[in-house]
Symmetry: C2
Subunit: 112 residues, 2 copies
DNA sequence: CAAACATATGAATATGTATTCAAGTGTGTA
DNA sequence: TACACACTTGAATACATATTCATATGTTTG
């Protein structure tokens, strides 16, 4: 009972999770990285395939994949010379879809 | 039919949404800002109240709220001298909860 | 109107980070 | 073994951005 020292008026999300959550969100906060995540959302895809598809340098894609892997958002699997990456679990997809729903939410003219 | 020039092998998320989505995610990618969002997730709360609660300077909170408001993630409402902020819609909460689920997802020892 | 309070804003700074380039590691194959 | 291919890694750079401090705007009340 040493944890939860500080009472939170907020929500169900404990204060201790915040740094982890923020790290994950910032992973998705870069357009290149978000596109990479989308590329390997459904099925495993090789680094070079991602690079070609998104017109990004292989080096850049690899750098980003390393971060995404460290953040456990994707998993790597070697097949011969190539390395295939795939989204770690389905929550990632849920998060993106929820946010897309937010974008398409109607908003009043007052708040601009 | 000038849009959708490039076919996407990826997902249901159109390529055009990516920058918007990335902007929103990066809003949540900062710990201070994420905590601020959590503070005004359920009910409107004043700037000074947020600042006190999170032990952040009023100025900093105000700066962040301006960004969050511009990104339509929160809405402002003046009540006398104070300004109350509240999360724009429920999708924001969904996104956070999904990501929290991702964090608590069991992961094998192999991927470190 | 003046003073006190609450919030907003601008400039300055310091820190982080996305991207590129060059070189390195690992894997299949002639 | 040597070469080509696929990917990784490190350093360098350019750019973005979180935070602070000082000041300004707006609002209520004496």
């Amino acid at each position: 009972m040493t944890n939860k020292t500080k009472t939170s008026t907020n929500s169900l999300i404990s204060e201790e999770l915040v740094p982890q959550l923020a790290d994950l969100f910032s992973m998705m906060g870069d357009t290149s990285r978000l596109r990479i995540i989308l590329s390997c959302l459904h099925e495993p895809i090789s680094v070079s395939h991602i690079a070609d598809q998104l017109e990004l340098s292989q080096s850049l894609v690899s750098h980003h994949l390393r971060l995404l892997k460290a953040a456990r958002m994707v998993r790597a699997e070697r097949r011969g010379k190539q390395v295939f990456y795939v989204a770690a679990d389905q929550h990632v997809q849920c998060v993106i879809e929820d946010m897309a729903a937010h974008v398409s939410e109607p908003h009043s003219v007052e708040d601009e």
